[in-house]
C-alpha cells in the first residue's frame, strides 16, 4: 500500500477531527496549515512518481482484494489536479486568515475547510463510482456549511437553493450508480469499461446521460447552471474563491473521466452543443451585471463551456488542451476572486456604483487584477491564451469550425466584461473617499496581498513553463485516451 496517495485524504480528515476538538483559533490555524502541507508534499510525491515511472499510482486501502477494496488511483490527470487544488487550498487559507473575516473566526471554519480539502482530494483519487459519490457528498456537505456559516438572511436564502439543488444532483448520481451496478455488477472504474461495452447501446446511452446530468449540475453547464451565479456571491470572498476555483472543476473532472474511461466518445455532439450555449450564456450573464463578484460568478459558467468543448471534440489534442485549460483556469479564477476579496475588504462591497479608482489607490492591485483578467480573456502572453490556442487548434484540426467560432466570440465578450470591471472598479475617481495617507491598499493587508501575489505568481508560472506543462498534458491525454492502461494498472496492482 502506497502511503503518499492516501495522505491527501487522510491528513485533512485527521486535522479536521483534531481542530474540532481544540477549538482554539491559533491552534486550529496551525493544524490546518500542517495538514494541508502534508497533503501538498504527498501530492508532489504522487505526481513525481506518476511522471517518473510513466505509470499510475494505485493503492487499495487495507490491502483488500481488488473487487471489494476502496481503490485510490492517480494517473497524470488526477495527480495534477490534486497538486493544483491542494496548492490553491493552502494559499486561500492564508488569504482567509489575512482577511480577518468573521467566518474564519468561527470555531467550525477550519475543520470544515479541511473536510472540503479531503473531499476534493478523494474525488480526484477515487477509483470507483461509489467512492466518487462519497467524495462529492463530503465536499458538498463542507460547502453547505461554509456557504451558510454566517447565517445571514442572504446566505440562508441562497444556501437553501444551493443545498436543495445539490441534494437532487446527489440523488441523480446515486440513481445512476445504482443502475450501473444493476446492469454490470460492479462500480469499480477499472472493471466498468469492459462490462459497459457489452451492454446494449440504448442502456449505455441512458446510463451515460444520467451521469452527465449529475456531473453537469455539479459543473454548472447550460442549462443546469442557474444555481451558481445566485449562490456564490453571498459567501465570503475567500470561500467563493475556493468554490469558484475547485468545486465546479471537480464536476468537469468527473465528466472528463466518464467520457474517456467509461463511455469513450459517447455523446460528443451533445457536449459540443452544451459547450456552445454554456460559453455564450455565461458570458452574456456576466456582461449584464454591475458587481465584480456576480460578473466573476457568471464567468465560471462561461469558462466551463471551454472545458466541455475540449471533451466534446475528443482525441488526444483536444483532451490535452482541456487538461491544460483546467490547470490554468483554477489559479486564474481563484486569483480574480482574491483580488475581489481585497477590494471588498477595503470598501465593503465590489458593486460598481459604490467603488471606483482602485488603480489610483494601488497600482499594484490593478496589476494583480489585470494579469488573471487578461489571462481569462485569452490574451497573449498569459496562460489563458495558450490554453485557448490549443483548444481552438484542436477544434480546427477536427473540422469543428462553428463551435470554434463561438468560442472565439465568447473570448471577446469575456474581454468586454473584464473591461467593465476595470472601468467600474479600477478607473475613475477614488470612491468611497478615503483620508489622505490611507490611500495604499496592499500595505496594510499584508497577508492577503502576499497570498494573492502567490496565486497570480502561479498563473504566470504556468504561462512561463507552458512548454513542459503542455507536453505533460499530452501525456495525460494519451493515458486518458487508452482506458486499457487504467484498467491494467488497477487490476495488476
Amino acid at each position: 500500500m502506497n502511503i503518499a496517495i492516501a495522505l491527501p485524504l487522510v491528513a485533512p480528515l485527521f486535522g479536521a477531527a483534531l481542530s474540532m476538538m481544540v477549538r482554539r483559533l491559533a491552534v486550529q490555524r496551525v493544524v490546518s496549515f500542517l495538514s494541508l502541507s502534508v497533503s501538498l508534499v504527498a501530492s508532489i510525491i504522487v505526481l513525481v512518481e506518476v511522471v517518473s515511472e510513466d505509470s499510475m499510482v494505485v493503492s487499495r486501502l487495507g490491502a483488500w482484494p481488488a473487487q471489494v477494496a476502496i481503490t485510490l488511483v492517480a494517473d497524470r490527470l488526477s495527480a495534477m489536479m490534486l497538486l493544483v487544488s491542494v496548492t490553491v487550498l493552502t494559499i486561500v487559507l492564508a488569504f482567509a486568515i489575512g482577511q480577518r473575516a468573521s467566518d474564519e473566526r468561527s470555531p467550525f471554519y477550519h475543520p470544515v475547510y479541511l473536510v472540503l480539502a479531503a473531499g476534493i482530494g478523494q474525488a480526484f483519487l477515487a477509483g470507483d463510482l461509489f467512492n466518487l459519490f462519497v467524495a462529492f457528498e463530503l465536499l458538498l456537505m463542507a460547502s453547505y456549511v461554509l456557504l451558510t456559516l454566517d447565517g445571514t438572511d442572504a446566505q440562508i436564502r441562497t444556501g437553501t437553493t444551493y443545498v436543495v439543488l445539490n441534494v437532487v444532483e446527489s440523488f441523480v448520481l446515486l440513481t445512476a450508480i445504482g443502475l450501473i451496478f444493476a446492469a454490470t455488477g460492479t462500480v469499480s472504474m477499472a472493471e466498468l469499461p469492459a462490462r459497459l461495452a457489452e451492454l446494449p447501446d440504448e442502456v449505455r446511452t441512458g446510463l451515460n446521460l444520467l451521469l452527465l446530468v449529475a456531473f453537469g449540475i455539479k459543473a454548472a453547464v447550460f442549462p443546469l447552471y442557474f444555481w451558481l451565479p445566485d449562490a456564490y456571491p453571498t459567501a465570503p470572498s475567500s470561500v467563493t474563491a475556493v468554490f469558484a476555483g475547485l468545486l465546479t472543476k471537480v464536476g468537469v473532472y468527473a465528466m472528463l473521466r466518464t467520457e474517456t474511461l467509461l463511455f469513450p466518445g459517447g455523446q460528443s455532439t451533445l457536449l459540443l452543443v452544451i459547450a456552445g450555449f454554456t460559453m455564450i450564456v455565461g458570458v452574456l450573464g456576466a456582461i449584464s451585471h454591475a458587481e465584480m463578484k456576480r460578473i466573476l460568478s457568471f464567468h465560471i459558467v462561461s469558462q466551463i463551456g471551454y472545458m466541455v468543448l475540449g471533451i466534446g471534440i475528443g482525441g488526444d489534442a483536444a483532451i490535452a488542451a482541456t487538461v491544460f485549460y483546467l490547470m490554468h483556469h483554477i489559479p486564474v479564477k481563484t486569483s480574480l476572486f482574491l483580488v475581489e476579496g481585497i477590494v471588498e475588504r477595503e470598501t465593503g462591497t465590489s458593486a460598481f456604483d459604490a467603488v471606483g479608482g482602485m488603480a489610483r489607490r494601488s497600482g499594484f492591485l490593478a496589476v494583480l487584477f489585470l494579469i488573471p483578467a487578461l489571462s481569462l480573456a485569452g490574451l497573449p502572453p498569459f496562460s489563458g491564451f495558450l490554453a485557448k490556442y490549443a483548444l481552438v487548434r484542436a477544434g480546427f484540426d477536427d473540422g469543428q469550425y462553428v463551435i470554434v467560432g463561438v468560442a472565439i466570440a465568447g473570448s471577446l465578450l469575456t474581454l468586454i466584461s473584464m473591461t467593465k470591471i476595470w472601468n467600474g472598479l479600477f478607473w475613475g475617481e477614488v470612491e468611497p473617499a478615503v483620508p489622505d495617507g490611507h490611500v495604499g491598499v496592499l500595505r496594510h493587508q499584508r497577508l492577503m496581498s502576499v497570498s494573492t501575489m502567490a496565486m497570480v505568481g502561479c498563473t504566470l508560472a504556468i504561462a512561463a513553463l507552458a512548454g513542459p506543462l503542455y507536453s505533460f498534458c499530452i501525456g495525460a491525454a494519451q493515458q486518458l485516451g487508452d482506458p486499457m492502461q487504467y484498467v491494467q494498472a488497477v487490476l495488476d496492482a
Binding site: V68, T148, R157, T160, F181, S288
Partner: protein, 131 residues
C-alpha cells in the same frame, strides 16, 4: 425483483419530485426524504439477487452484500442532509418568520426594472393614443 417494489419506487420518485417543486421548505424536506428513500429502494431492488444473509459459513445462495453496503452509506448521508436542511429551514423561519424559498434578490431587481420599463412604455402609448 417484484412488481410491488417497482411500483413503490415509482411512487416514491413521483411524490418526492412533486413535493420538491413546492416553495414551502418543510415540503421540500419531505420531498428530499421521499426521493432519497426511492433511490435506496431502487439500488436494493435492482442490484441484489435474492438469497440468504451474506454471512460466512451460510449454505446456499447468499445475496450480494455490495448494494446493501452502498445503501447503508447512502442512508447515513441522506440523514445528515435532511438534518442540515431542517436546520436551514429553522434558521430561515427565525429570520423572517416564514417557511418559503425566496427569489434571488438580484433576479427580482432585474425583473422589476423590466416591468417598470414595460409600464412606462404602456403609459406613453396610452398618452399618444389620447392626444
Amino acid at each position: 425483483m417484484s412488481l410491488s417494489l417497482v411500483v413503490l419506487i415509482g411512487v416514491l420518485f413521483g411524490v418526492g419530485t412533486y413535493l420538491l417543486l413546492h416553495r414551502t421548505l418543510t415540503r421540500i424536506v419531505l420531498g428530499v426524504g421521499m426521493l432519497g428513500n426511492g433511490v435506496n429502494v431502487l439500488i436494493i431492488a435492482t442490484g441484489a439477487r435474492q438469497g440468504e444473509a451474506p454471512i460466512i459459513g451460510r449454505e446456499g445462495q447468499v445475496t450480494d452484500p455490495v448494494p446493501q453496503a452502498l445503501v447503508l452509506t447512502a442512508i447515513v448521508i441522506g440523514f445528515a442532509l435532511t438534518a442540515f436542511l431542517l436546520a436551514l429551514a429553522w434558521r430561515n423561519w427565525t429570520i423572517d418568520g416564514n417557511d418559503a424559498v425566496e427569489d434571488d434578490v438580484e433576479d427580482r431587481r432585474l425583473a422589476r426594472a423590466e416591468l417598470d420599463a414595460d409600464h412606462h412604455r404602456d403609459v406613453r402609448h396610452h398618452e399618444d393614443v389620447e392626444s
